[in-house]
């Protein structure tokens, strides 16, 4: 759905890669490798275009011209990472699948700081924001099968909105770690998965027919 092959992952630019083989490809590999290295070694704050260029053994202007800024670099790394063959687990129950996914999310978020760095970058660079959006859209789309399997098993009713189910189940983990910075909370992860699974089984994630509307509050919770 997103950038397709392994060669044309260059974001933003048109699909036409003028000179795919040779120097360009070599330099791109060097630069992206330098980005990943700097990210895990020194974190996001140490990631400047200059540092990446020096590490990659490439001139500053080359990086500026091809990737524009740090966000562009991270977007390219992200597009490349999104092209893996990840598939959601299959434990036999919706609750089990959601809990397993939450475990992976928690591990990914508390492990190497790459993910946090990419999310931080998405608030600075439109390019990185778009790449992250593509990445998550595809990941959530792949997760839809856990709901489809649950429907096939008769666990949840047809018409259940798969994406909403997965978002609702995983969101508390992101919230806890990324925004609240409270560290991993495996119990929250499991309870959220169990709660969403139960709610889904009761048909709460099927859009109801009548267009009932909740009265919208005015004052803001997070002003």
């Amino acid at each position: 759905m997103t950038a397709g092959g392994a060669a044309s992952a260059m974001s933003g630019r048109a699909a036409v890669v003028r000179r795919p083989g040779g120097r360009s490809a070599r330099i791109r590999a060097q630069v992206l490798e330098a980005v990943r290295e700097l990210l895990v070694e020194q974190g996001f704050d140490a990631l400047s275009v200059d540092a990446v260029a020096e590490r990659a053994g490439v001139h500053r202007t080359t990086v500026y011209r091809r990737w524009r800024d740090v966000g562009g670099l991270l977007a390219d790394v992200l597009d490349a990472a999104g092209a893996d063959g990840w598939q959601p687990p299959d434990t036999g129950t919706l609750e089990g699948d959601l809990a397993a996914v939450n475990g992976e999310v928690e591990a990914g978020l508390t492990g190497e700081p790459v993910t946090a760095a990419l999310i931080a970058a998405s608030f600075r660079s439109p390019q990185a924001a778009e790449a992250l959006q593509r990445f998550w859209d595809e990941r959530y789309a792949r997760c839809a099968v856990v709901v489809e399997r649950a429907v096939a098993r008769g666990e949840v009713p047809e018409g259940t909105r798969a994406r909403r189910v997965v978002v609702a189940a995983t969101a508390p983990v992101y919230q806890q770690i990324l925004l609240l910075r409270g560290g991993a909370d495996p119990l929250l992860a499991r309870q959220a998965a169990a709660g969403v699974a139960l709610a889904a089984s009761r048909g709460l994630f099927v859009d109801e027919r009548p267009g009932r509307r909740a009265e919208g509050g005015l004052s803001s919770f997070a002003r």
Copy 2:
């Protein structure tokens, strides 16, 4: 729980305000007002120390010395904002309360870009991150009463972890708008609230006795 009075909201620094009346207080008011103005007028990207100083009619070095960086400025604004008298709504049911809170979250996130700016800043500045953490800790603590009321009504069992309930209910809204950047989704907000309310009523947010453990996945969902 966090910074107490209206005068000593200066974050980081010790509680002793050397010269509360007069020039210092006046300059602080000017600077914070300038921050708020620039934030709503031009967004977060236009928020540099220089721009704030110029708008406030104050010298650059003054701002650098008292607030250190943009994150310090936002942290001060945030501490001041957290001292309001906000209380969660009381609709009579847990689901209604959670849905109403979610409505406010959605409104706050899609309205003035102040919130998004503060969250973005929290990824850059440790000061802003701490301030945001304080802010949310207090907000979630205040929200605990909606669960306590539900317990008193017999809607949910005793021992229900209030904070986890509120986090699980609100997280999908933050996820959808801040991270996925999908725009407001009132249906998701209501379904998440309903789902969590149902799960809580079944005792799913009570920490169970046996230390059962889910098998943690290895590969990462969000690498």
